[in-house]
C-alpha cells in the first residue's frame, strides 16, 4: 500500500482538426493538455469533471487504446509506450475497464461465463476446466451464483450485469481497473450495492481503481484521492475528505455548490457559473477557467497557473494561491 502502481507524467493528447487536403491544419483539440498523477497500489484515484474535460480521453490513454501525443504513462516503473507484442499483452491483462452502460458492455450473444472467461482465454494458456473454475470463483466474488455462468446477459438486471462486467475486469489478475462512470446508469438503490462491492473487492484483492465520474459524492466516497479536471488540465488534486472539507480551486467550489444536497437544509455556497462548458477546440488563453471564474483577476487571462502543492497531498492550479 502506498507504493506507486501507475504514474502519469505531463500527459498530452492533441487531436488534429481541419482540412488536411489543403495542406494546413486548422487547429488542435487539446483533449488532454499536460496532466500528472499517481495511483498507488490498492488505492483509488477519483477523476471528476464535466463533459469535454478530457477524462474519457485520459482513460483511453491509460488503457492504451490511444497513443499519447506527449508525456509518459508508467506502469510498475515501465513506460507503456515502449511495450510491444507480448509485453503489451501483459499490460492489457493487468489493466482493465468497466464501462458505464451495463446494457451494451456485454456481448448479447455470449453466455456470461464465456464473457468473463474471454480475457482469460486470450491471455493465459489454461485448460477449459481451469477457465471454468476461475469463472465460477469470479462470479461468487461479485456476489452472483456460479450456476449463472450459462445465462445470457439479457437475463440479468442492470446491476447484475455491472457485476458481470466487474468480474470480467478482474479475471486476469488485474492490478488496475478503470471505472468509467460505473454506477451512473444504475438505479439508485443498486448503486449502493455496487459501490460496496467495489470497496469489498479492493480490500480483499488489493486492486487499484481509477474512478471516473461526475457524481462528487460517489467519487469522494470510494476514492482516497480525488483529482478535478477542467478542459484538459488538472485544476486540483487532494485527499478526498480534505477536498470536500476545503476545496480551494474556484471550479472545485462550483462543482460542490452544484452537487445536489442530501437534504433540503444542507448549506451550499451560492456559486452559479455563467456560460457553457467551453469546447477544447478553442480553449481560453491563460487559465482555461477564467471566463467563468467568479474570482477572476487580470493575471488569469494572461498566464496559465501551474499545479502547485500547497499542503501535503493537496495541489491547486490557481493564481489565487499562494
Amino acid at each position: 500500500m502506498g507504493e506507486p502502481l501507475l504514474q502519469v507524467r505531463d500527459l498530452k493528447k492533441h487531436f488534429p482538426v481541419g482540412n488536411r487536403l489543403l495542406g494546413r491544419e486548422r487547429g488542435w483539440v487539446k483533449a488532454v493538455d499536460g496532466i500528472s498523477f499517481t495511483i498507488n497500489r490498492g488505492e483509488t484515484l477519483g477523476l471528476v469533471g464535466e463533459s469535454g474535460c478530457g477524462k474519457t480521453t485520459t482513460s483511453k490513454l491509460i488503457l492504451a487504446a490511444e497513443a499519447p501525443t506527449a508525456g509518459a504513462i508508467e506502469f510498475e516503473g515501465r513506460d507503456i509506450a515502449s511495450l510491444h507484442g507480448q509485453e503489451l499483452m501483459e499490460y492489457r491483462r493487468r489493466v482493465q475497464v468497466v464501462f458505464q452502460d451495463p446494457f451494451s458492455s456485454l456481448s448479447p450473444r455470449m453466455r456470461v461465463g464465456e464473457i468473463i472467461g474471454e480475457p482469460i482465454e486470450a491471455h493465459e494458456k489454461l485448460l477449459r476446466r481451469q477457465v471454468q473454475s476461475r469463472v465460477q470463483e469470479l462470479l461468487e466474488l461479485v456476489g452472483l451464483r456460479a450456476d449463472m455462468a450459462r445465462l445470457f446477459p439479457h437475463e440479468f438486471s442492470g446491476g447484475q450485469r455491472q457485476r458481470v462486467a466487474i468480474a470480467r475486469a478482474l479475471s486476469t489478475n488485474t492490478r488496475l481497473v478503470v471505472l468509467d462512470e460505473p454506477v451512473s446508469a444504475l438505479d439508485v438503490s443498486i448503486r449502493a450495492h455496487i459501490i460496496r462491492l467495489l470497496e469489498d473487492i479492493q480490500r480483499r484483492l488489493g486492486v487499484s481503481y481509477l474512478f471516473i465520474a461526475h457524481d462528487l459524492a460517489a467519487v469522494s466516497h470510494l476514492s482516497q484521492q480525488t483529482a478535478v479536471m477542467y478542459l484538459g488540465k488538472l485544476v486540483e488534486v487532494a485527499d478526498s475528505l480534505e477536498l470536500c472539507a476545503t476545496p480551494l480551486h474556484p471550479y472545485t467550489k462550483a462543482l460542490f455548490a452544484a452537487s445536489l444536497p442530501s437534504h433540503p437544509d444542507e448549506p451550499r455556497e451560492e456559486i452559479v457559473l455563467s456560460g457553457e462548458v467551453p469546447s477544447p477546440l478553442n480553449p481560453p488563453r491563460g487559465c482555461h477557467f477564467h471566463p467563468r471564474c467568479p474570482f477572476v483577476m487580470p493575471r488569469c487571462s494572461e498566464q496559465e497557473p501551474e499545479l502547485l502543492e500547497l499542503a501535503p497531498g493537496h495541489s491547486v492550479a490557481c493564481h489565487l494561491y499562494p
Partner: protein, 315 residues
C-alpha cells in the same frame, strides 16, 4: 376516451402452462410454417410417400386405355385431368402430364430440387456475403474500399440476365444452379452486413474486447458474426423466395435443371401450350407450389424481422 372498466382478467384461473402454450401459438406464424412444413415434408419423404415415380409413366388401368385409345392395353395415358374432373382417377390425384407421368409425384420430387437449390444457393450466397461484409465493415480502409466497390458493381448486374450468362458458361445442372445463385446474390448480404458491423464496431462490448487485447479474428468470430445473424436470417428468408423464382425462371428458359428432372419451373415451361389447350392442371399446380414456397418464405422473413427487432415488437 373515458376510463374503460376491465372485466375480470382471464388470468384468474388459467394455469401457467396453458398461458405459455397460448402465447406460443399466438405468436408463431402458423400459416407460413404450415405451408413450409408441407413442402419440406413432401420433399424429404418423396421417395416414400409419392404415389408413383418421377420419371416413369404411370401404368394405366384397362378402363383408362379403353377410354382413351380404344385398346385394352397401353404403355401410358397422357394428360389425365385431376381426380375431381371427368376422366380423372384417384390413382393420379393431380393428373398426368404429356408423358403419362403423375403430376403429384413429380411435384413432390420437384420440391426437393427447388428447396435444395434455393436453400443451399441462398446459404452459400449468405456465407460469402456475410464474411465479406464483416471484413469490409470491421477491418475498414482498403478492405472496405475494395470489397464495397466490387459489391456496388455486382449489385448493378441484373440478376436474371447474369444468371443466364453464368449458366451458359457452366451449363445446366443442379449444382451449377447452386453456384450461380451464390454468385448472383452474395452482394445483397455484404452491403447490409457491412452497415450492421459499422454500428456494432462502436458498441461497448466490441471496444472492450479490443482493449483487452483479444485478437481481431476472434472478435469477428465471437462478437460480430453472432450479432449480425439477425439481419442475415431475415435477409436469408427473403432471398429464398427470390432464389426459387430465379431457379424456376432459368429452368423455364431451358438453362437450369435439365429435363427430365421435375423442376417446377421446367414443368411449367414444358406445359406452356397446354394451358391454352385447356389442360390447366399441368401448369397451375407447379405454379401454385412455387407461389406457396415464395409466399411462406417471405411471410416468415417478415415475421422474423419484426420479432427480432425489439422496437417493432409490441410486447
Amino acid at each position: 376516451m373515458a376510463t374503460i372498466p376491465v372485466h375480470a382478467t382471464p388470468l384468474g384461473g388459467v394455469s401457467r402452462v396453458a398461458r405459455r402454450s397460448y402465447r406460443l401459438v399466438a405468436e408463431v406464424p402458423s400459416i407460413p410454417l404450415l405451408m413450409l412444413s408441407i413442402l419440406v415434408l413432401a420433399a424429404v419423404f418423396a421417395p416414400a410417400i409419392a404415389p408413383h415415380g418421377k420419371l416413369t409413366p404411370v401404368k394405366p388401368t384397362p378402363e383408362q386405355c379403353q377410354a382413351k385409345f380404344g385398346m385394352a392395353d397401353c404403355p401410358y395415358v397422357d394428360n389425365v385431368p385431376p381426380f375431381w374432373s371427368a376422366g380423372g382417377t384417384l390413382g393420379t390425384p393431380l393428373g398426368t402430364d404429356f408423358m403419362g407421368r403423375d403430376v403429384l409425384s413429380r411435384l413432390m420430387y420437384g420440391a426437393r430440387i427447388s428447396l435444395v437449390v434455393a436453400l443451399t444457393g441462398t446459404l452459400f450466397a449468405g456465407a460469402i456475403g456475410t464474411l465479406l461484409g464483416v471484413l469490409a465493415g470491421y477491418l475498414g480502409k482498403w478492405w472496405d474500399q475494395i470489397i464495397m466497390r466490387i459489391t456496388d458493381a455486382w449489385l448493378t448486374l441484373p440478376s436474371l440476365v447474369f444468371a443466364i450468362l453464368l449458366s451458359s458458361v457452366r451449363g445446366p445442372g443442379l449444382w451449377n444452379m447452386v453456384l450461380i445463385l451464390a454468385l448472383v446474390f452474395w452482394s445483397r448480404y455484404s452491403r447490409a452486413v457491412r452497415g450492421e458491423v459499422l454500428a456494432l464496431r462502436e458498441r461497448d462490448f466490441v471496444k472492450l474486447a479490443e482493449i483487452n487485447g483479444i485478437p481481431k479474428l476472434r472478435i469477428i468470430w465471437r462478437h460480430l458474426i453472432p450479432n449480425v445473424m439477425n439481419t442475415v436470417m431475415v435477409l436469408f428468408s427473403l432471398q429464398v423466395g427470390v432464389a426459387v423464382i430465379i431457379e424456376a425462371s432459368l429452368s423455364f428458359l431451358g438453362v437450369g435443371v435439365p429435363p427430365p428432372e421435375p423442376s417446377w419451373g421446367l414443368m411449367m415451361a414444358q406445359e406452356r401450350e397446354s394451358l391454352m389447350e385447356g389442360k390447366w392442371w399441368l401448369a397451375v399446380f407447379p405454379g401454385t407450389c412455387i407461389t406457396m414456397l415464395v409466399l411462406s418464405a417471405n411471410m416468415l422473413g417478415d415475421w422474423l424481422r419484426v420479432r427480432l427487432d425489439p422496437q417493432l415488437r409490441n410486447r
